[in-house]
C-alpha cells in the first residue's frame, strides 16, 4: 500500500531565495507526523506544495498515490492553513455548508455532518453568530471543523494550536487522537514542541529548507544511561558516590543519575541502600524534543547534516 504522503527531493525557490532545498519524506497511514522548524524554515511551503497551491521548482510529491496539483489529489485531504481568515459574513453552519458544496458533498449529508461538527467543537450555542464576531479560539475550532468536514483521509494542520488556550488545545488534541483512531493520517506543522511531543508518532526537523533530523519521537529523545531518582531525605554530598555521578537535586528533591551503563543501576541502588536512603522515585530519563530542537537549530549546517538526512 502506498504511503499517504510522499515527498521526493522537492526544491522550491522564490527568485533566488531557497525555501526548500531538496526535501524527501514519507508519512505512513494512520501516523501523526510533526514537521518542526523555526519561522521561515519552509514548513508552510512544503504543505502548500502538497496541496497543489504552490508549484515545486523541482522534485515530485504524491498524496494518496496521486501526483499533487490536480483537484482529485485534494479530494480526500483536509487542510487547516496557518493564520487562516474565514470569510466574515458566514455563520459556522453556512460556512461549512459552502465548503461542503465546494467539496462536492451531497446536501443532506453535509447538513448533518456540519451540525455534528458544530456540536463537537462547541459552537452549538453560537449558531446565529457571524464569523466576524467570533473569538480567536472559536475561529480556530471552526477552521479545524472545515478541515474535518468531508472526513478526509489525510489532514494537514499548519500551526493548529496557535493562539488557542490550554483547554482548547486539549480539546483539539483529543479530536486529533480520535481522528487518528479512525485511521486518518495527520501532518502537523508546528513550532510548539510540547504539543508535537504529546501528539506525534514521528517528527522531522526542518531547517532552512532541509530536513536535519527525522525519526520517531522515542528514538529522537532517547538518552543513554540517565535516570531520575528521589530519596526519602536530602542527599548531603551528591559528589561522593562511587557507582554513579549524581547531579545536585532540583527543588523537588529529584537528582539526575549518570551511569556508566545500564547494569550499573543495580550497583547504584545497592549503594543507596547501603548509605541508608529509601528510594521514593525512580525513572528513566528521556530528553525533550526541545533539547533536540535547540541543538539542531544552533548547530551550524555542515557535513553531518547530510548524514542525518540520510538516516532519516
Amino acid at each position: 500500500m502506498v504511503d499517504p504522503v510522499e515527498v521526493e527531493a522537492v526544491v522550491k525557490r522564490y527568485g533566488t531565495a531557497v525555501a526548500l532545498a531538496g526535501v524527501t519524506l514519507r508519512v505512513g497511514r494512520g501516523e501523526i507526523f510533526g514537521l518542526l522548524g523555526q519561522n521561515g524554515a519552509g514548513k508552510t511551503t512544503l504543505v502548500k506544495i502538497l496541496l497543489g497551491m504552490v508549484a515545486p521548482t523541482a522534485g515530485t510529491a504524491r498524496l494518496l498515490g496521486i501526483p499533487v496539483g490536480t483537484p482529485s489529489a485534494r479530494r480526500a485531504v483536509g487542510y487547516l492553513p496557518e493564520d487562516h481568515r474565514l470569510p466574515e459574513y458566514h455563520t459556522a453552519a453556512s460556512l461549512l455548508d459552502c465548503y461542503g458544496g465546494l467539496q462536492g458533498l451531497p446536501r443532506s449529508w453535509r447538513r448533518q455532518r456540519a451540525a455534528e461538527l458544530i456540536e463537537m467543537i462547541g459552537l452549538g450555542q453560537a449558531h446565529r453568530l457571524k464569523v466576524r464576531n467570533f473569538s480567536k479560539g472559536m475561529k480556530q475550532r471552526l477552521g479545524l471543523a472545515q478541515a474535518l468536514l468531508h472526513r478526509p483521509d489525510v489532514l494537514f494542520l499548519d500551526e493548529p494550536t496557535d493562539g488557542v488556550d490550554p483547554i482548547g488545545r486539549k480539546q483539539i488534541r483529543d479530536l486529533l487522537l480520535a481522528e487518528r483512531a479512525r485511521g486518518v493520517t495527520i501532518f502537523i506543522n508546528s513550532h510548539l514542541l510540547g504539543e508535537v511531543e504529546q501528539l506525534c508518532d514521528r517528527v522531522a526537523i526542518l531547517r532552512k529548507g532541509k530536513v536535519v533530523r527525522s525519526g520517531s519521537v522515542v528514538e529522537l529523545t532517547h538518552r543513554q544511561h540517565t535516570w531520575l531518582v528521589g530519596f526519602d531525605r536530602p542527599v548531603p554530598d551528591s559528589s561522593t558516590w562511587a557507582s554513579a555521578h549524581l547531579d545536585p537535586p532540583d527543588r523537588n528533591g529529584i537528582s539526575r543519575v549518570h551511569l556508566a551503563d545500564e547494569a550499573a543501576l543495580d550497583l547504584f541502588l545497592a549503594e543507596a541502600t547501603g548509605r541508608g536512603f529509601a528510594i521514593r522515585h525512580l525513572q528513566k530519563e528521556r530528553g525533550t524534543l526541545e533539547d533536540l530542537y535547540l541543538q539542531c537549530a544552533t548547530v551550524p549546517i555542515g557535513p553531518h547534516v547530510a548524514s542525518s538526512v540520510r538516516c532519516g
Binding site: Y14, K48, L51, G52, M53, V54, A55, P71, S72, R74, R75, V77, G78, Y79, P81, D83, H84, R85, L86, P87, E88, Y89, H90, S94, D97, C98, Y99, G100, G101, L102, Q103, G104, L105, P106, R107, G143, Q146, F156
Partner: protein
Amino acid sequence: MIGWMRSFVALLHDTWLEFIDAKSLWLVLLTIAVLFGVALTIHGEPLAAGRTYLDLAARSLSADTNDLDPAEVSLHTIATRLDGSISWIQSAEPIGPVMQPADGQPQDGPKTSWRVTLVRNTLPVVGKMADTNSIAARFGRVADGELWRVHAIRETTAPLAARLGSQRWEMVVNPGRDLTILWPHRLTLFGDALELTPPQGAPLGLEVFILQKLLATGLGGTALLLVSVVITAGFVPTMIRKGTLELLLARPVHRWQLILGKFIAALLFVAGMLGLLVGATWVVTGIVSGLWAPGILLAVVSLLLFYGLLLSVSIFAGTLTRSAPAAMLIAVAYWAVLFVVGILHAQVVASRVREDLTGRPRPLTVADALRGRSDPRAPLEPQKRPFHRTAAGRIVEATYRVLPHSSDLDAMVDRQLMRGFSVGGRMRQVLESGEFSWLGGMGLTVAHATAFLAAACVIFGSRDP
C-alpha cells in the same frame, strides 16, 4: 458533473451571503424603494384637447402623412403635402364619457367620443370628390399613428354644395390607439402639491418616457450599478486574500472555477436587482399613466451587459492588485472613460445627422470643435465624410472604436422607448439614423468582458498564493 454543479451552487450561496452582508446595498435599495413610493404619488390629469386633435385629424386628410412621425407633425410639413383639398371640423360635441372636475365645466379627455361634422372642400370640377369609405378609413390616421377611429359615418352633402366641390359628413368618432400617448396631461406629485409640467401640459408619452428614463436608467439604474460595482469589486480581493484563499484552494476545484463562479453569481444577483428595478419602473409608470409600452424592459439587457463589463474589469483589477479599493476605483474610472467617450461620440454623430437632415448650418457645439468646424456659415461637409479633422476628435474617435460601445446600448433602449411613446424630436432622429445598433453595442462589450475575465483567470491560475 454533479460535483461541478454542487461547487457552483456553493459559490452562489457564498456570494449571496457576501452580497446581502453589505450595508450599502440595503441603503440603496431603501432609497430606490422610497423613490418608487414617491413616483407612485404622481397624478396625471388630461387637459381638454379634443378639438385640437380633431382639427389635426381633419387637416391631415388633405395630406399624405403616412411616412411622417406623429410627434413631428406640424402645419408646415402638412402644408407641403396638400392634395388640393381642405377639410375642417365644422362642429364637434363630446358625447362622453366626459370628466367632471370638482370645480368648473365638464371637460373632454382622451377617452371621450365625439359627434363631429366634417366639411371637405375641393376645387370645383378639377378637384376629386372623396368617398365616404375612404374618409372613414383615413380620418384620425396621422403618419403611422391612430388618433381617432370612425365609429359611424353618414354623408349629408347638399346637392348644390356637391356641385361646388363641398362635401359634408356627420360622424361619431372614438379615441384611437395612440391618442392617449399624445394627449397633453398635467402631472403633479404628492397629490396636487408639486407641478411637474407646464400649465399647457405635455404629451403623456413624453412624460412617461422621461419618468422611465429617470427611474430605470437614470437615477435608479446608475445608483444600483454604482453600489453593485462598489460591493462586488471587493468579492475577489476578499476571496483571494491570504488565509482565505488557502481554505478554498484546498478544495477539489480549479482556480478558474472560483473566479468564474464569483462572476456568474454576482451577475445573477445584480440581474435580479436590475430586473426588480426595471420591472418596478414599468409597473409604477404603468399604474400612474395607464401606458404599458414594454420598451423599458430592454433596459435590463443594456444595464446588465454594462454591469457585466464593469464586473469583469473589477475582477481583473482585483486579481491583479488584490485590493478592493483599487478594484473599485479602476472599475469606476473605466466607467467614467466609457461615459465621456460615449457622450462625445454621440454628440459628434448627432451633429452630423442633424446637419444631413436639415441641411442648415447651426451654432457651433463641442462636437463641431471635435469635427474641426470653426465657421458656422461654412459649407457643410458631404454626408459620411470622416468627421474628425482635429487631434482631439481623432482621439475620441479612436478610443470609441476600441472601447466597448456601451453607450450604444443605452441609445437602443432610448430608441425603443421613443418609439413606444411616440416621442420625436432631434434626439429621435439621431437614434433612428442607423448609427447605433444592438450588435454594435453588444459585440465589443461582450468581447472586452470576456478578455478581462480570461486575463483574470490566467493571472490567478499561474500565481503562488
